[in-house]
Symmetry: C2
Subunit: 198 residues, 2 copies
């Protein structure tokens, strides 16, 4: 039985969700990925659509729209708290609670940063060659142009979100214990390597 908490950060369409599932199954520990959506809806009262759209992506709309509280300081400056900030704080609390409860696999949501000082955490970044990800999406019915646009947009919004809340550069090896190229290794080997760290 492992005592590890695995955080999996991943490029869009690199197989991160699937590896998370395979790893959790292999080690017999719970997985948290889409599960966040229900938990955040229940714990913090956000809508499912809002959590899916903003839960780990920088907003593409004007963040002022999401403003829910403006506080004025003694010096007259103001501090805007957006709904996205509230959701981040809610997720961060929830991730810390999960880590205290016991071993698990957490996909995305800046969990690597939130649990950066947890000695039981293993932080992994999964990525794949751009071309391989494109061809995977081709197989799912998208044209090459559409797939390339979607990949760049999704990764770009994750990068901005991560930078905003952590101050770090998303996908920079120094943030993680291990980075694995799923296109070169395959999902099974990727899972095996991660499981060997349990």
């Amino acid at each position: 039985m492992t005592n590890k908490i695995f955080t999996i950060s991943r490029e869009y369409c690199s197989g991160g969700r699937t590896v998370g599932e395979m790893l959790a199954k292999k080690l017999g520990i719970p997985l948290y990925d889409k599960e966040f959506v229900d938990a955040m809806a229940q714990e913090c009262g956000f809508s499912h659509e809002f959590i899916e759209e903003i839960g780990e992506y920088a907003t593409v709309t004007n963040s002022f729209l999401f403003s829910i509280a403006v506080s004025t300081h003694m010096d007259g400056s103001t501090n805007m708290i957006t709904a996205a900030d509230r959701l981040y704080a809610c997720q961060a609390n929830y991730i810390q609670e999960l880590a205290e409860k016991g071993p698990c696999v957490i996909v995305g949501r800046c969990a690597d940063y939130i649990l950066r000082d947890d000695p039981n955490a293993v932080h992994a970044f999964l990525y794949a060659d751009f071309k391989q990800r494109i061809s995977h999406m081709n197989a799912n019915g998208l044209s090459e142009k559409e797939a390339a646009k979607l990949l760049k947009e999704k990764d770009g919004r994750r990068r901005v979100y991560y930078k905003h809340y952590t101050g770090r550069n998303w996908g920079e090896p120094q943030n993680y214990d291990i980075c694995l190229n799923t296109a070169r290794l395959g999902l099974e080997k990727t899972t095996d390597i991660l499981a060997s760290m349990a």
Copy 2:
């Protein structure tokens, strides 16, 4: 018996040489690192000092000093070939010969790029937290300030060298199959993970 060729790129003082040695020993295959110096001296006639200084570091002196041939094209433009370019070409040939000979571990020298299309090659990048590398160098008698300066200089020169000859960004996960944080994993676990890919 493995049929793999391991290329190990590494941050300065991250334990790359040691992991290379441990991996080669574990798999019973040859290691090429400092061995390049003798081979390049013998095959291409460069001095040991020159190979150690320029074999994988961008030069800090004026590259014009190393100019050994200037060819003039039909249109009047000139093409300068430096001794550093000659050494790179010589090393690249040698690395391809080594890969054809059979399984081995090759440390540094842009081997990941030179063997990027070799289906038997596993490309690894080893890195470690800056603070951990500093304290390792402290233990070897350098002050914190001296250590930080040396680390930045060595990594910086490797980065420039790599960019110059490959067009890629050194240490960017997409160039490698696997990236391992030796400070977090330890050298033994790092070696085990790599060996599991044989």
